[in-house]
């Protein structure tokens, strides 16, 4: 069963515009969410995270929004730059109770292409 889903395999955006990447989850125990960015032939790099006690976290051009009732989160990139072109993975973990050991459940990824 796919507990974390990214339903859009790809997204194409013009430079300077907003990129919105979406992610849905089904496991109510998840309480910490992360976004990773991956370039070809490299490992994923951590981008931004959000705890379930918040509904928004911002870091420069990147903002993550969490809607717990809908079990949905999104990553906004404003303004988008060609260097942002990469695969973006959403991930989730259940930290409460201290049993997750940091084990992450990942979505399938969304390929973002930002055109100059």
């Amino acid at each position: 069963d796919q507990q974390v889903k990214q339903n859009s395999p790809s997204l194409s955006v013009q430079e300077g515009r907003i990129s919105i990447l979406n992610c849905d989850y089904t496991n109510s125990m998840f309480d910490y969410f992360l976004w990773y960015k991956k370039y070809p032939a490299e490992g994923p790099t951590f981008l931004i995270s959000i705890s379930s006690i918040k509904d928004k976290n911002e870091d420069g051009r990147f903002t993550v929004f969490l809607n717990k009732s809908a079990k949905h989160l999104s990553l906004h990139i404003v303004p988008s730059q060609p260097g942002d072109s990469a695969v973006y993975f959403c991930a989730a973990t259940a930290r409460a109770g201290g049993t997750s050991y940091g084990k992450l459940t990942f979505g399938q990824g969304t390929i973002l292409t930002v055109h100059p």
Partner: protein, 113 residues
Amino acid sequence: GAGVSQSPSNKVTEKGKDVELRCDPISGHTALYWYRQRLGQGLEFLIYFQGNSAPDKSGLPSDRFSAERTGESVSTLTIQRTQQEDSAVYLCASSPRAIGGYTFGSGTRLTVV
């Protein structure tokens, strides 16, 4: 080292052979994770180490897969009698503590022919 190092970066092996994949985590990172990414899919958790112990091996797909860690440092993932469905990128990550947001290596691309 400065980052998580994995070797080899690429491995082509014949079906039925055994392979060993190596991970050198960031020095001092006690938590170490193995994931794999098959083509077009997300990352699948394989195993977690805290120090040299593996409290969570739940992601290992079969008994052909095993992993060990020594000296709270290097980890080796071994796949015995490889099958074509084992073809994937195997990623290792380490963290100073088990809370996520960890650092990944560049991975080993395994191709079983």
